[in-house]
Structure formats: C-alpha cells, structure tokens
Amino acid sequence: MTDAKAATDATAAPGPPVGADEPAVRVVELTKDYPGGVRALEGVTFDVPAGQLTTLIGPSGCGKTTTLKIVAGLIPATAGQVIVDGRRVTGPGPERAFVFQDFALLPWANVLRNVAFGLELRGVPRAEREATAREFIAKTNLTGFEHHYPHQLSGGMRQRVGLARALAVDADILLMDEPFASVDEQIRRAFQEDLLRLLSDARKTVMFVTHSIEEAVYVSDQIVILTRGPGRVSNAVRPEIARDGSPDEIRRSRGYLDAVEEIWGELRSYVEQDMQAPQQTGVAS
C-alpha cells in the first residue's frame, strides 16, 4: 500500500483518543534495512496510548517482531525513531519489559530465580527480590512451582514464568512478542483472561504482537495492521467492545465481530498470495 497515510487518516483511528495523555510510546517513521538489502520496515508510524493494549498484527514477514524489538531497544532502527516517555530510545530501559515468544527462561534456574532474574540483574538484594518474585508467582498462578525448573513445566506455565518475570521489574510498558504462540488453544484463552485481569489491576501499557486476529481483537484497545514488503502501517482499528460482558458475550458482540471482519478484509489478500506462492513468503516476522 503506497497510500498508507491516507488510509489511516480515512479511518481516523490511530493516535490517542481526544483528550488522552501523551502516548506512552511513539513510533515515528521507522525504517529498518537488514544486511543484504532487505527492507523490513518503511516509514512505520503509530502511537501506543498509555495504559492501553495495542496489538501489532499482519502477515508473516511484515516486521511485527522487528518493530517490537526496535521499541525494546534490542535492535537499532535504520531510520526514524521510537520515543518513550518523551525520550528517544537508544537501548533497553527499565521502563520497558519484554515477554518472549520462546519464553527465554534460564534453563539452569528454577522458577523463583527466573522470575527474580530482572531484579537480580539490577542488584536487588536476594531476600527482597525473592519476596517480589513470590508475589508475582502467586499472581500468575504458579504458587507451588517455585522450585521447579523450566523443563519440568508445560508451555503455558513457562510463559507465565516469562510474564511474571516481566511484571516483577515493574516496568510501565510490557512488550509481548507472540506470547501465546507456543501454547495450545484452551490454555491460550485462559491466558488471555489472565492477562486482561492482570493488566486491569496494574494499569500497564502493552504492545502485543500476534498473528491471531481473534486474539488481537479480544485483548486490544487498538490494533495496528502492518502490511509487508516492506512492512508499513496500513490501518489502525479501535474495536468498540463493551468489556464488562462475559468472554462469550464479548466474542459474540457486534463490535468484536465487526473488528474481526475489518482486519480480515485487510489481511486476506496476503493470505491468498501466500496460498498461491507459498515459497515466496517474506523474512520471518
């Protein structure tokens, strides 16, 4: 889509709602070239409103994960910038915590030490950091598994360890890279509930990468749709869903279904491309 700006303006959805505070994260004209001349992102611009959950969604190879890692300060942008709390991002910072798709747990450390690891790196004394870790182990329903090792846990439990570790450092912004991709569907739904509950208590700003449209609509306040070749923002959707209903009511509500339909409409052309030329998928997102 060459006319990304016009499209986003037409729906008038991106950016903070009128009267909201300064966005927690501003992604401005981000461009990323990989060695060998592959352009992963071009002119990606969007805002992440504070205290809300923003999802990045798009076909594989659209640069969702690349964008998230640039925001995390893990990889540098070729051009453009990321602004967090008014400051330009040049590397990782204590106000951002990352949840990894493959969990990234220390295999030689038990749950307690893994959850406390972010605090350990900051030099928090052992008793103090373990007390904090136990608090988040309880919040993520891992009590009783403090002394288990990652290889003794199921995928869902491992990701809860990853989430507890990110929550334990008390960062304002959580960056989640397809956190439920390695978890089966039933656990995934339970996990989405847990996440929404944890977030509503904690008032975190969340950037969430997923390839599941339903998941994106279910958990998000704002959904940024990226297209690929190179990755650009094609649209940003704010589903209008009353969050006070039960999970089933939400999944049957007009707003939920409309948002799923709208996103599917944007992405279906890519799915059809992939079906016709499966060997020509882009670089991994």
Partner: protein, 250 residues
C-alpha cells in the same frame, strides 16, 4: 549389561578380561604378559615405593601447571572465539589444525629449546590439552540461545552480567566436556613428554621397567596412570551430569 536374562554389573566384563589375562600369564605364552595377580601385587609395591612417589610428584607438578595454563588460555580463547567473529575465524582454524596434528613430534624440538626439565613437560601438557578445551568452549559459547542474550539485554544486563550469568552457564555443558577431554589428553601429554625426555617422572619409570623387563611393575604403573586419568575424568563427568538436566533443553 544382561547375561541370560539376568542383570550383571558392568564391572563383570572386567573380571572376565582379568581372568583371561591371568590364564595367559600363567601359561607363560608371552613374557610381556605376567599373570594378573602378579601385576596386582606389583601395584602395591610400585605405589608404595619412594621412586614412584618422587616420579608422581614431578609428574603431577608438570600436569598441574600445564593443565592450569591450558584451562585459563583454552577457556579464555574459546570465549573470544565464540563471542568475537574475527577471533573465531582466525584462531578456530589454528586450533583445529593443532587439535588434529601429531604434537608428539614437537616434543624433541622443545627439548632442544627449553631443556629436559619442567618447562618441556608443562608445554607438552598444555599443547596436548588446550585445543580441545578452546574448541569445545567455542562451540558452547556460539550456541548460546539468541533469545537468552536478548532477554539479558532487555532486562538491563551489563556485558559482564551477560557473560557471567548467561553465556558462561549456558556454555557450561560444552566447557565441562572440553575440560574432561583436555584432562585425558593432558595425562597422555605428560607421560609422552616424559617418555621422550626419558630421564624424569613416570615416563622414566616406564622406561626403566621395560628396559629391565620388569613387566609386572610396568603393567602396574600403567594401571595406576590409567586409574588417575579415569578418576580425573570421572570427577568432571560428575559435574557434567549435574548440568545435564539443562544441556538437552537449552
């Protein structure tokens, strides 16, 4: 091991070989092979002799210093080779060449350079063991999961913390395997060095026993050296088993 459906300890196979040895020895077929019981008696004699104590001291000293150097240099170089690509390309090639070269040939040249004493033995131990330690460390360090490194950085780890709290521990299974192989090679190195020098340590004792046709003592000494190498490698293997639980799940 199972024989006729019954569990038999692995040591049983050793007993079979010892019995065979005893039979061949008693039959006096080859003078090189004395009866095994004779060798057992000789182990006691050799191990308690003053000559052995002196030789063992000299040998252990050379082995200790050589291994200490090989561990320091090998692990250090392996880290550099694993973390810095340029080092990996340049040093890796040399380490592979030396790892597979017949280093025994260098020992006489070294004698000419640094004499018949401790330095030659130390250098021999070092040269025999350092390469495998460096190469195994490199493998361990290169294969540390990228996402663990990103995790460390995203939680604000300093370079030092990344090395000590993530890379070192993640590479530990390979580093320990390298140390175990390096120890065995170091034992070989110190004995081969001494055999070539022929006037010091355990190597001199081997020379002496074989020249005087003291075959029971010769075999006894060999078993003692083997037992030492085995104990050293088992000690490292013990630690390897301690980290094995995560070696397969990294």
């Amino acid at each position: 091991m199972r024989i006729a459906g019954r569990r038999v300890p692995m040591a049983f196979s050793l007993l079979v070989w010892f019995a065979l040895w005893e039979v061949i020895g008693r039959a006096e077929l080859v003078f090189l092979i004395p009866p095994f019981t004779g060798v057992l008696v000789a182990i006691g004699d050799v191990a308690t002799s003053e000559r052995f104590a002196d030789a063992a001291m000299v040998t252990l000293q050379a082995f200790g210093i050589g291994m200490g150097l090989a561990l320091t240099v090998g692990i250090g170089a392996g880290f550099l080779m694993g973390r810095v690509r340029a080092f990996g390309d340049v040093l890796g090639m040399w380490a592979n060449i030396f790892e597979s070269s017949p280093l025994t040939a260098i020992v006489p040249a070294m004698m000419a350079l640094v004499g018949f004493g401790l330095p030659t033995m130390v250098i021999t131990v070092f040269l025999f063991s350092v390469w495998v330690i460096a190469l195994d460390t490199q493998v361990g360090v290169t294969h540390v999961s990228q996402s663990l490194l990103e995790m460390g950085r995203s939680f604000g780890a300093s370079r030092r913390q990344v090395l000590l709290k993530i890379v070192l521990l993640a590479a530990l299974p390979e580093i320990l395997a390298g140390i175990r192989l390096g120890l065995i090679r170091g034992v070989k190195g110190v004995i081969i060095g001494q055999l070539l020098i022929a006037i010091v340590g355990i190597g001199y004792l081997f020379e002496r026993y074989s020249r005087s046709f003291l075959m029971a003592e010769f075999w006894a000494l060999l078993i003692l050296v083997f037992a030492f190498a085995f104990a050293a490698s088992e000690a490292i293997a013990y630690f390897e088993r301690k980290v094995a639980f995560y070696a397969t799940t990294r």
